[in-house]
Structure formats: C-alpha cells, structure tokens
Amino acid sequence: MGSLSRQAFFQELGSGCLLPTVQQGLEQVWQLLLICLVCRLSWRLGLPNFLKHLSTVVGGFYTLYLFFELHMVWVVLLSLLCYLILFLCRHSSSRGPFLSITILIYLLLGELHMMDTTTWHKMRGSQMVVAMKAVSLAFDLDKGIVDKVPSPVEFMGYIYFVGTVIFGPWISFNSYMDAVESRKLSVSWFMKSVISCVKSQLCLLISNCVAPYLFPYFIPVFGNKLLRNKKRKMRGSIKRWLQAYENSLSFHFSNYFVSFLGETTTTLAGAGFTEEKDNLKWDMTIAKPLYVEFPRSMVEVVTSWNLPMSRWLNTYVFRKALRYGSFTAIIMTYTASALLHGLSFHIGAVLLTLGFITYIEHVLRKRLSAILNACVLSKRCPSDCKHRHKKELWVYLINGTFSMLALLHLTYLGSVFGSSSDDMDSDEDGVASHTIQKWTQLSWTSHWLTFALWVFYRLIL
C-alpha cells in the first residue's frame, strides 16, 4: 500500500479490494449453498429415511470434493475409523473414552507424520467437525441419550450432513435426526438463511478490506501522521498496539464470516431450529460478534466465539474432567480445544494463555463479588441475584475496567494471527518465531498482567 493519500486509498479500495473479495466470496460458496438447498428440497419429497441419509452423504461427499479434492480421503478415513470403533465397542459402556483416544492418536499422527502440513491444515476444520460429532455421539450413547448405535447410513448421514461438513458447526446427533424429519419450508427459514448469508459476506468484507486499514484510513486517530510513518518501521508502542488491534479485528471478522456461513448452510439444509410446543424457531447462532467486540469478560468472549463448540467442550470435556478439580478441568478443556484446532504453535500458545486468563479472571471476580457483595462476576448477574450492589457507579467502573482488560487481552492474543499468513502454515518454526516476535513487540503485556492479577487474587484471598 505504501503511502497512499486517504482520498486515493478510497478510490483504490472499491476496485482493488471490495470487488474481488465479494466476487471470490460468492464464487467459492455458491455451489455449497446450492447443494444445501437441493438437499433440503429433496428431503421435502417424502423419501424414506434411508434415502434421505444417502442423499446428504452424496451431497457431503461432493462438497468435500469441491473444497479439498482428493485430500478428502483423510476425512473419510477418520469417519470410517470412528464407525469401526463404535461398532467394535457396541457392548461396552465406555465408548466415549475409547473413541476419544482413537481420534487423538489419529490427529496426532496426522499432525506429525502422515502428510504434509499444508494440506493437513487446510482440512483440519472439517476434521474437527467430524471428530466432535463422533465423540459426542459416543458419549451420548454411553449416557443413553441416543438409545441405540446408529446404522452405518445414519452415522454417515450425520457425519457428512451437507449443512455442517465444511464450515461446521457441530450439531448433536439428535438434532440431526430432528432435521431429517424435514420441517416445512417457511418464510422465516428463508429469511434466516438470507440474512446470515448477507452477514457473512459483510464480515468477509470487513475482514479483508476494512480491518487491515482501520487506523490510518477509516479512523484517523492521529490524523495523517500514521500514513506517513506506515512504511517506516513502526516506532512507539501506541502504533504497535493499534496495528495489533487491526490484526486481531481482521482475525475476528474472518471467524464471524465462517460462523455466519455455517449458520447459512446449516439453516439452508434444514437443521438448526428449536421447537417450543408447536412453535418452530430458526434461531441457530454460532458467534455473537457484539459480545466479543465489546466484552464483559474473557469468559464471555470464549463462549461467544463459537457457541456450539463451547457447548461441546463444556458438555463432553469440561463436565467430564470436573472431577479432577476445576483448574485441571479448565486446562484440559483448552488442551482438547488446541488438539482439535491442530497442533500449531500459535494456536496452542493462544489457547493455553486463554486458559490461564479466563481462570484467573473467573476466580478473581468471584472473590471480588463476594467481598464487595456486588455484581462483578464474569457472567452477567441474573435479574434475581442476591448481591446488594447492582447499579452503583463503582460497580460499573469495576466491570468497565475488566472490559477494557479483556479488550487488551483480545488485541494481544489476536495479534499473532497475522494478516498475510499464507506461508505461515507451512513452516512450524516460522510460526513459533512469529508468535514470539509479536508478543515481544507488545512486551508480553497480557502475560504480566495476568500474573499480577493472580498475585492480587492471592493477596485478597
């Protein structure tokens, strides 16, 4: 970009970024959307269930091929392995742990040996969804929430459900079986799909074209000073933090793009509704951007980042691990999350840091709220909570301070997900040194702050 003037920049932005981004965004997903729609319409024809499962498997295979070509065999292999384990353990009541360990070994082998990292990383999103679905199914079988081992066709239909196979999210087996019953087409269903699709494209635009140029061009905090210095090596910590914020904002919106796209495909394919009596609501929500961009606490950020995923982690990891103590459970949850996301250095580092940050924030705020008898917990107080102080100014002040702290953490953590990270995936050493370099630039602020908060917590304990 060099040093364009603001006027020239806005002239360039249209043809240089907005247009190709929209064009590519649509070009790459229209087939997926079409297949979801076709799948949904064909389910309305009243086919036998067997054919419904089969049709979504075919659709899922085709979309997998569209996105990953022949590398899709790794996903297929994983799903076959999962079914094999489920079948072999059909009389056991600890299918969950068995399957988790198998998947763990498979993922570790993949990370370390089986294939080159670039292709592996390209598909780890789909693999993550498959792994989560299989593990949840196994635990549900153990618990009796799903009463019998599904037939191969049902299982494959669940794994390759066309609405979730590429962009997620995780859905439970039962909600898939509900979707197979095929609810009738309605205006609200259609509106939900369209709105989610529009939102996803908007997020893509912001991620590509607005966030990276936020401070010099869109919000001129320092007038034209930043423009002139953009090319030179950034000096001054404020500029570094602004740049880190741009980076993390771009990363956030990339996540919202995928989330909204996931909403679109899932809804379009006919899943993701809740039913209250006779009232059918198409209300699938994956991410809550407002709760992430204006957070109350880091705990809130982590859950709002990807609701189905955090629900999964909560049900199948955190609750199961709670018997070993809450700190261990939290660390185990984040480790599981890191494993699912792929063993990149930066993801591992970020998730581990997040684990510490959220834990210390949680206990500190709990302690504070007990001492002060005020609503300063990580989660919003319910309306009938027993705290004496709810609406005082100093309560808002404390919560506001924690919000600012969360924003700082977000900026710090998001800065490692660089914008031009195309060759980052290929080289593990490069990723590690990039992460460390970024955090050194920001002088490890978040880690020091977290440590200070922990000391403070121990003092008031």
Binding site: L4, S15, Q24, F67, K122, V258, D422
Partner: protein
C-alpha cells in the same frame, strides 16, 4: 499572370517536396498511437465504454495495421488504452511540474511534440510512463471484466500452481504486459540505437508495474484453517509507478549501440544490444531507463528541437531547487506581480443539506519568468 501562376505552382511543388521529404525523414512511427488520446477525449469513446465497435473511429487511423488488429481481437481494450494514456500524461505532468521541461502536450495527434524523436532522458521517461500506463490500465480493466478476451488471471491463483483450487481473481498484470509488448512496441521500427532504447524504456515501464504488484491473501475457515482463501493482486497506485520511474529518470544511464567488433564472443546470441557509454558502469537493468543523448537545456523556445522554453512559467522565488526562479528562468530574471485571488472560504454546513461559503479575496505574489 501566367508567370505568377507558374511561380505559385513551383512553390507548391517545392512545399510538397519538402513536406514529403520531412515525412520520409520521420518515417518511424514512434509513439504515433499516442494520438488516440486526443481523438478519444473528443469523440464518443469515453461515453460508451463497453463493446465499442470502433472500426470507423477516426482514432484508428493513427494506428498501424497490427495495432488495429489487436484492438479488433480484444473488444473493449481501446477504452483501457486511452484511459491508461490519460493517466500516464497526467502523472508525467505531475512528476515534472517543477522542472524546466514540464511534460508539455498538445492537442494535435503528435501529443508529446518533437521530444519523442530525440533520445534524451525526457524521451525515455515519456516512453516508459506511457507504456506503464497502458499495462496498468489494461490489467485493471481485465480484472474488472471490461475486456472480453481476458478475465481474472487464474494462473496466479495460489502457491500450488494451476491446480490450486481455492484462490481468486488477481489483476491480470501478465495480460497487461503481454498486450503492452504487442501493442506499444509494435509502433517502433528499425534496428538502430533509437529503436533499442525506446524498446528498453517501454519494457522498463511495464516491469515497474509488474514488480511493484503485491499479492494479498487471506485464509478463512474453522479454527483458522485454509478452507476458503481469497487472494488478489494489488496493482500499485499509479502515483507509485510515477514516483519509481521518476527515480529511475534521475538515475538513467547513457548507452551506446554495442560495438559488434568487441565482445563478440559474449554477445553472439544477441548481436543487437545496448551498452553503457562508460564501460566502467554496469549494464542497465531491465527496470532502468536509458538514453543516448544529452538533454537540451529547455530554456528558450526552439522550433527545431520542439522546446517551448520557460518564459511565462510561474516560479518560486524562495526555493534554491529546480523550481526556484534562479534555475527555472535560466538566469533571465523574473517579473513579479500581485494577483487578486478570490476563493471560497469559511464554508459552513447547514442541516440539511447545503453549504454556504464566503468569498475571500487575497493578494498573492506571483513570479513569472521573463
């Protein structure tokens, strides 16, 4: 009476003879195609941008047969060429606004005047910037889909080459370069030093556009994986190209026709090439500008070389640099006058929606070269 008529006839014949002689003298069509910029701006070219059927367009008379063929084969491209030329001329004027030679253009088909028939630095710049302008505009139009024969460049999709599946549309700079080579270079004829120099400078302009491009990519997918990847080539803003070429103008190297007698072994494959005039200098790179004669001083009007001189130019009395009165007026001195300038000022915005301004008159001192 008859004598007078005879005299007139002889005179007419002489004029014809002379003009035809000068015509043969200027047999090279160097940059004749630049003329389309004037025809284009006056004609309807800019109004109907797409699918212009330009067979009868008068601007085509300025083009060679080969160039006309290229335009017929690539519908919509003439518009891009004209737009590129406009940008290039504007940029040239901007880069040279403070120098004695300020990139003057005319409205005749011979746009840049006689400077193009010389071989000085200014000539080199004109060739390079127009070539760059065409490449830039054609590449941009490609990616916008305004040219039917080219679309997004799918070869540049990703690191995996042609079979990389996800990727995207990049500004098609390769097409721009190829087209530029075919179209722009085809107006050069001959085998001499001028020919080689002009081609080199044309190529330097195109190379600048190509090498200043940046690819920007972004991955999107669950957990930051690369499920969807959007990439595009950013063409540099043309101001950057202009800045770069101006740098190269300042550091241009003077070349001579390579003496075939020397270095025979090393240059047998390509007998025609340029060499730096000073053997101690290294060979000019493909992005350097080259020239082979000294620039005139551009101080005074000279019909033969086609320079307009600097008299009447506004100068900056306090600057010691090239735009200062001392240097710009070539020591002839300058006259100073006061000028009343009226401009809109103290504008306020009224809800909603109009802006009201006052007229402020100020006196400004203007210096003009004698």
């Amino acid at each position: 009476m008859r004598v007078l008529a005879l005299l007139l006839a002889v005179k007419a014949a002489c004029v014809l003879l002379v003009s035809s002689l000068t015509g043969t003298g200027a047999v090279n069509n160097s940059g004749r195609w630049w003329g389309i910029v004037n025809v284009a701006s006056s004609g309807n070219l800019l109004t109907n941008s797409k699918n212009v059927q330009l067979v009868l367009d008068p601007s085509l008379a300025l083009l060679s047969r080969r160039q006309r063929k290229l335009i017929r084969q690539n519908p919509g491209i003439l518009h891009a060429i004209a737009a590129g030329l406009h940008t290039a001329i504007k940029e040239c004027k901007w880069q040279f606004r403070n120098r004695r030679w300020n990139c003057p253009t005319t409205h005749s088909p011979n746009v840049f005047g006689k400077i193009v028939n010389r071989g000085c630095r200014e000539t080199a710049f004109v060739f390079a910037i127009t070539s760059a302008g065409v490449t830039h505009a054609v590449a941009r139009s490609c990616s916008e889909g305004a040219i039917e024969s080219c679309t997004c460049d799918y070869r540049r999709r990703g690191p995996g080459g042609p079979d990389w599946h996800w990727g995207g549309c990049s500004d098609n700079v390769e097409f721009g370069r190829m087209f530029g080579r075919e179209f722009v270079d085809s107006s050069e004829r001959g085998r001499d030093l001028r020919y080689l120099t002009n081609l080199h400078n044309n190529e330097a302009g195109r190379m600048t556009v190509a090498s200043e491009m940046q690819q920007e990519c972004k991955c999107h997918g669950m957990s930051g994986s690369c499920t969807v990847r959007t990439c595009w080539m950013r063409l540099p803003s043309f101001r950057l190209v202009g800045d770069y070429l101006k740098d190269r103008f300042d550091g241009a190297s003077r070349v001579v026709y390579a003496n075939k007698g020397s270095n025979r072994a090393s240059h047998r494959a390509d007998p025609r090439h340029l060499e730096p005039e000073n053997p101690a200098h290294k060979l000019p790179s493909s992005r350097d500008l080259v020239y082979f004669e000294k620039s005139p001083n551009f101080c005074s009007y000279n019909g033969k070389t086609g320079t307009h001189g600097t008299s009447g130019r506004t100068c900056n009395s306090s600057s010691p640099a090239l735009d200062g009165c001392e240097l710009l007026c070539c020591g002839r001195g300058y006259k100073t006058r006061m000028e009343q300038v009226t401009e809109r000022c103290h504008c306020t915005f009224h809800w909603c929606c109009h802006v009201s301004c006052l007229n402020c008159t100020s006196t400004q001192t203007v210096h003009q070269c004698l």
